[in-house]
């Protein structure tokens, strides 16, 4: 096997085999991370909205 053939083999392995595999792993990890973070974010968002509403009602009373 000459050097050029080895280089082509390395190209095939990295780009066609390893890259899709690593991308799949990253996809799984990424989705997992997003799902992990969403509940807290939504809770915080709801809390914030609730606090805003509460503040608004208090303000009305002050007036």
């Amino acid at each position: 096997m000459d050097f050029l053939a080895i280089a082509v083999w390395i190209f095939d392995f990295l780009v066609l085999d390893l890259l899709p595999f690593v991308s799949m792993v990253l996809l799984v990890l990424g989705i997992f991370g997003v799902i992990n973070r969403l509940p807290d974010t939504i809770t915080n968002y709801a809390k914030r909205q609730g606090a805003g509403l509460a503040r608004a009602f208090k303000g009305n009373k002050r007036r």
Binding site: F11, L14, V15, V34, Y45
Partner: protein, 598 residues
């Protein structure tokens, strides 16, 4: 009336003939007058006897008439019928009956010799359980039967064995089965062995009888082969009681009832023997190849003759214990087999067995070689071949004409098929050793180093530096040297020195031009040599880029997604801006590289 006259004339003539000797004796010296009388016999009397009949009785049948089948070649033996002689000895359970006789054929009978003959045993087959024939060539005068208990027709003295046969007494087929058959209580053996005229042979038989049978053999009143040797040695061995053996040796002054049918001639020690061989039938023989070192190719050449000159056969060379070493085959060997393995043979048995298997039915003439000197005959292993037809082995007591040799390369028969051509040694251009690779390689290494130092140009620097290192290594492999030349002789004398200097300058200029030319040629060659390597390095660099950049980008994208999922829009924007910045940097770097390059 005519008959009466004729009778009268005959009577008168007879009377004259009776008286005439007396007259001629009496009238000795007187000139005799000769009268010729022609008898005219009428045609009706001429046809009285229409055929000739043999008037002899049955007992007068000649010896060759008793052969079964009738002799095909030159028949040699006693012409009168042989007498059956029964010995007093009665065979015990363990018994041996030996009959041996010396025979020397003359050239009037068999010219210089025969290669195939049928021998009829003098031992009557009646009551015989086993029989063996051994043929010995004589080197001197003395011989005798060996140990009588030995069942293999042993002969001691000035003899060496040239052929033999263990006879199957149940075989009654002349054409089928083994080379022996028994018919009408006579046993015949076909022997493929060179028998020469003028050389004495001892034909020896040993028979083992069934119990209670009497030893019986045929004797001849005539001298077999007219060799002036009429003697028969008999050996009898029986065990009538425990620990008691009776051994009896007799010498008869007559020849035993042996007869021969000489089938095939001998040529001059080289002859062909024709065999009809079916697919699977074999010719097998042993050759000595001696000791060697290394792994030479084995080559065996065996001439043959067939109707169309070709033979479909497989050659297998085996050890003497029948372990195959190599094999070669051809559907159409032409005129001779030239078999050679496809690779060298490292193991070196001193003797090998060559086995030729015929793959399609064919009448094949194999050629055999012998010498009357007896030198070849002494080694029974090498001076015989075995032709196996339909599972029955026929031994030829001669060496098949063949040549077994060792070769440094593969040997094949002449052929127009390119697949059969021998491997041709590849042409290698003798590359001139120079130092351009070293110089340019060193420069490339320096440039590569400088590019690596710039940081951004590091990948290209690695490429150029690597290529330079490859050039230097290749140059060293070819034997290139950096320093080449001699110091000119400055000190001879001033004029010579100036002249020499001018010549040196001229030569220097010439060499510079030559060097430039060589350098350009070398660069072209080098591009040819190194382009694939450079291309390979480039492919690897691109592959690394294509692998790592998308992964980096994916990590960044997932970072943005996570920040978004956390609801941190600012951090997400920062990540996105970071990614955009790096993309911009890469583009800028590429532009910078492009600017530097052009």
């Amino acid at each position: 009336m005519y008959a009466t006259k004729i009778l009268q004339f005959v009577a008168l003539t007879l009377a004259v003939m009776m008286i005439a000797p007396g007259i001629t004796t009496a009238a000795d010296g007187i000139e005799a007058a000769t009268n010729t009388i022609n008898l005219q016999i009428a045609s009706e009397h001429a046809d009285e006897y229409s055929e000739v009949v043999n008037v002899a009785e049955e007992s007068a049948i000649t010896n060759p008439d008793t052969w079964d089948p009738a002799p095909q070649g030159i028949w040699i033996g006693a012409s009168t019928q042989e007498s059956l002689f029964a010995f007093d000895t009665v065979a015990t359970a363990f018994n041996r009956f030996h009959v041996a006789s010396e025979v020397r054929f003359n050239s009037s009978q068999i010219m210089n010799g025969v290669s195939c003959l049928i021998i009829r045993s003098p031992i009557s087959s009646e009551g015989v359980d086993e029989m063996r024939l051994r043929i010995y060539a004589m080197t001197g005068e003395d011989w005798d039967i060996g140990l009588l208990a030995n069942e293999y027709a042993p002969i001691t003295g000035d003899v060496y064995q040239i052929a033999g046969a263990d006879i199957d007494m149940t075989d009654t087929s002349i054409t089928g089965g083994s080379d022996s058959w028994t018919a009408d209580e006579r046993t015949y053996t076909r022997v493929f062995a060179p028998i020469y005229s003028g050389i004495s042979y001892v034909f020896a038989w040993t028979a083992i009888y069934e119990q209670d049978e009497r030893f019986k053999m045929y004797l001849s009143g005539q001298d077999i082969a007219n060799d002036n040797i009429t003697e028969t040695r008999i050996g009898q061995y029986t065990l009538p009681a425990p620990d008691t053996d009776i051994q009896e040796r007799s010498l008869f002054g007559v020849d035993p009832g042996i007869s021969f049918d000489m089938i095939t001639g001998l040529g001059n020690g080289v002859w062909a023997k024709s065999f009809y061989m079916e697919a699977g039938d074999t010719l097998s023989f042993q050759v000595s190849i001696g000791i060697y070192s290394g792994s030479p190719y084995h080559v065996v050449m065996i001439p043959f003759g067939t109707e169309d000159g070709t033979l479909n056969a497989t050659v297998t060379v085996m050890t003497t214990s029948y372990t195959p070493i190599w094999t070669d085959d051809n559907t159409a060997w032409t005129d001779y087999i030239l078999a050679c393995p496809s690779s060298g043979v490292a193991s070196h048995p001193q003797s090998v067995r060559v086995n030729v298997t015929v793959n399609a039915a064919e009448r094949v003439n194999w050629i055999f070689v012998d010498s009357p000197s007896g030198v070849l005959l002494t080694d029974m292993n090498y001076n015989r071949a075995s032709v196996t037809i339909d599972g029955v082995s026929h031994t030829v007591y001669a060496r098949p004409w063949s040549s077994y040799q060792l070769s440094i390369g593969e040997v094949i028969q002449p052929s127009l098929n390119p697949a059969d051509w021998p491997p041709i040694v590849e042409e290698v251009v003798n590359q001139q050793a120079n130092y351009y690779g070293t110089i340019i390689g060193a420069i490339a290494v320096v440039i590569g180093g400088a590019l690596i130092a710039t940081g951004i140009g590091a990948p290209i620097g690695f490429l150029i530096g690597g290529a330079g290192a490859v050039m230097i290594a290749a140059d060293l492999n070819r034997g290139g040297t950096l320093i080449n030349g001699n110091i000119p002789g400055w000190l001879s004398n001033p004029l010579d020195a100036i002249w020499d200097v001018l010549i040196d300058v001229g030569e220097f200029l010439w060499s510079v031009g030559e060097a430039l030319y060589d350098a350009i040629t070398w660069v072209v060659d080098a591009i040819n040599d190194y382009l694939p390597i450079l291309l390979g390095l480039l492919i690897i660099a691109v592959a690394l880029g294509l692998f790592f950049i998308p992964i980096y980008a994916q990590l960044k994208l997932w970072g943005i997604a996570w920040r978004l999922a956390e609801g941190d829009l600012q951090k997400a924007a920062a990540q996105a801006s970071d990614l955009a910045g790096e993309a911009e940097d890469t583009l800028k770097g590429a532009k910078k590289f492009k600017r530097r390059l052009w």
